[in-house]
């Protein structure tokens, strides 16, 4: 029933949702547009050392020479980069004393999503531990982590407090000239997170940051850097939500991960940015470069993503397996509905010996959406005994949507073993009828079937995140069948 979907969409995205996030916050913004002066001004306002200003300027100059990538199976409307505000920071943080101060309708939406109370507090702005429009307001668990020597702070703070670490690793995995959107991010990134796990330390908690695009017409350029030293472990969660806007909003983030010997990094994302309305109006453009470098031997980097949001998604979390015996993993659920377009997948680059990679991708297309998996497996000459297994499944709901799979293989070493499996299926009317006959209505039946389909990936998420992800999938699909 589409009315039900409208209702939920409205609840999730309607005006009140902004309340307390948006209208009440006074913003410190730069005028629209991008130039060397703007880049310098961003760096200045953030009080950055000179090397950062230079880093940004070089990226900006590279960006000027580059073009938007056109190879993806996406229809990207032209973006006017001079019509975007590149710096917006809240002057004072919006702080509520308790959940009682939160708009009850907003709370009802959170309850519907099943977001745990602690996270509700974060989202609603009670003792905010979230990145809100570019400036990190506060960071969670800081003190407990500090005892173990773990650094978890905003990237701006890291640039000021730990310039040597930042200088050493920033741009080492995703160079400023890597691609068009990476160059743009490197020039203008506003804030993000920095994580440093010292040798032999296992992070006792899952590190989590919520990103929120809030102010009107502000492009969001997050930058995250995670460095895991020898024998360390960390699990990092990134969750995203954005209120409704009529105009499309650009988001171009970079996440870089470095894993040293025997280090393990798990990076999980649940992304439910505003996908636009039923007619394809509005929504976030999400152009993200995420890459992990398994630098040390026996290191492991694992990406898990559940993507239900954004009007356009262009995202390929990748692993470069440089160390011998290192492992890269990619687990993905990408759901598109209405007019959403997603071109997502991964790149697994095998450089070291005995490296292994695993790809499990589950695409779900509904409405008039287009959903593409694009994956590269590359085995270099000296990567003896590289192993890859890729499984790409597509599930179609209805007959107006599309699912596409674009696997690329570049194998330069004949000891490599690379396997690729792909399936495409439709939710059968017989499956739905079977559920109906057991008293389960069609919407719940679709939710049940879809959650069964994605279980392999959802199981990789931390518990609370998994529950939220399941609910999101159900909400995102409401009204798409029957």
């Amino acid at each position: 029933m589409s009315t039900e979907q409208d209702k939920i969409l409205e609840e999730v995205t309607k005006g009140e949702y902004k309340y307390g996030f948006y209208t009440d916050i006074e913003m410190d913004t730069l005028p629209k547009g991008l130039s060397e002066d703007v880049v310098r001004e961003i760096s200045k306002r953030k009080g950055e050392p000179e090397f950062m200003t230079e880093f940004r300027l070089e990226a900006y100059r590279n960006w000027l020479k580059m073009k938007t990538p056109e190879w993806a199976h996406l229809n990207i409307p032209e973006i006017d980069f001079q019509d975007i505000i590149y710096y917006a920071a809240p002057k004072s943080k919006p702080k509520l004393d308790s959940m009682d101060d939160v708009d009850p309708e907003l709370k009802a939406t959170f309850d519907k999503l099943g977001i745990p109370l602690e996270e509700q507090k974060q989202l609603a702005g009670v003792a905010v531990d979230a990145v809100m429009d570019s400036v990190s307001v506060k960071t969670t668990f800081k003190e407990t982590l500090a005892e173990k020597g773990i650094i978890f702070c905003s990237i701006s703070e890291a640039i000021r407090e730990y310039p040597d670490l930042v200088k050493q690793y920033l741009g080492s995995v995703v160079p400023p000239n890597d691609n068009y959107f990476a160059a743009l991010n490197s020039a203008v990134f506003s804030d993000g997170s920095f994580v440093y796990i010292p040798k032999g330390v296992r992070s006792p908690v899952e590190l989590s940051t919520y990103f929120r695009i809030n102010a009107m017409n502000t492009g969001q350029f997050e930058r995250t850097l995670i460095v895991a030293e020898d024998d360390s472990y960390v699990s990092y969660l990134e969750g995203c939500t954005a209120p409704q806007r009529d105009e499309n909003q650009l988001h171009a983030a970079i996440v870089e991960i470095v894993a040293m010997e025997r280090a393990e990094v798990k990076y999980s994302t649940v992304q439910n940015w505003y996908p636009g309305d039923k007619n394809g109006k509005g929504g976030i453009y999400n152009f993200v470069t995420k890459r992990g470098l398994c630098k040390g031997d026996y290191s492991k980097i694992s990406w898990t993503q559940v993507e239900t949001g954004s009007a356009i998604t262009w995202k390929y979390p990748s692993c470069v397996m440089m160390g011998d015996h290192s492992t890269g993993e990619f687990y993905s659920v990408a759901l598109t509905n209405n007019h959403q377009q997603a071109d997502t997948g991964t790149k697994m680059i095998h450089l070291g010996k005995n490296t292994k990679s695993l790809v499990v991708s589950k695409g779900i297309s509904a409405g008039k959406s287009q959903n593409s998996y694009r994956g590269l497996v590359k085995v270099s000459k000296r990567a003896e005994n590289a192993r890859n297994f890729s499984q790409c499944d597509s599930l179609l709901l209805g007959d107006k949507c599309g699912a596409h799979t674009f696997p690329y293989l570049e194998i330069n070493n004949n000891t490599a073993k690379v396997e690729h499996e792909a399936t495409t299926s439709k939710i059968g009317e017989d499956q739905i009828f079977y559920c109906n006959q057991r008293g389960i209505d069609t919407e719940d039946a679709v939710g049940l079937i879809v959650n069964g389909y994605v279980k392999e990936v959802i199981n990789k998420l931390p518990m609370e995140f998994a529950v939220e992800a399941q609910k999101l999938l159900e909400i995102s699909l409401e009204g798409s069948v029957g």
Partner: protein, 251 residues
Amino acid sequence: MLSIKNLHAKIENKEILRGIDLKVKPGEVHAIMGPNGSGKSTLASVLAGNEMFEVNEGSVEFNGKDILEMAPEDRAREGLFLSFQYPVEIPGVSMVNFLRTSLNELRKYKGEDPLSASEFLKLMREKKNLVEIDSDLTNRSVNEGFSGGEKKKNEIFQMAMLEPKLSILDETDSGLDIDALRVVANGVNKLKRPDNATVLITHYQRLLEYIVPDFVHVLYHGRIVKTGGKELAHELEANGYDWIKKEFGDK
């Protein structure tokens, strides 16, 4: 409990049911027999609300309510259960999750609170013992990788869990070996109560050696052409359907 009057139904303009009349009272077991293509499975599908079929005439009352106007899930919530001839597989959805969702929907409809996980698992253990189902089956995804016999046993297990008022078993005996048949039949017999009823749809008399019907109906060309007691089934077994075809052939 169930009252079918002059029911006509078609699929793609082909009329399959051509005026069915049937009354089922609580505590009764009815067998509907007939040659292939006579409309037996169509009747089951139409009663359960499968939208592939269009009802163009007649009425069906269940618990005094017109169910033809109800969505399939509401018919199920009213207590109508269909044991499918070909149960579908739902990969990745555990039996526990599926049945718990199902049972709690039925409870919600009746205004009852949902069962907690532990209450549910306890109930599941009881019913598993009752219908002699391997616990392995309930630890798997819905029908995924089940053999034909396992799928049918699983239908009976679901019936035991959901305690329907009216169970329609669509060719539940077809393709079963003798052991599976016995399990299915025992399950049905154990679940029989004065306040529920069963409609067995079958081609063969074999199942009726284990489940004794109160009435046997012969369906032919979309109509019930003959009704009798259990001896009618023996007659059909002995003489086949040819005499029915002769007697009630196209007029």
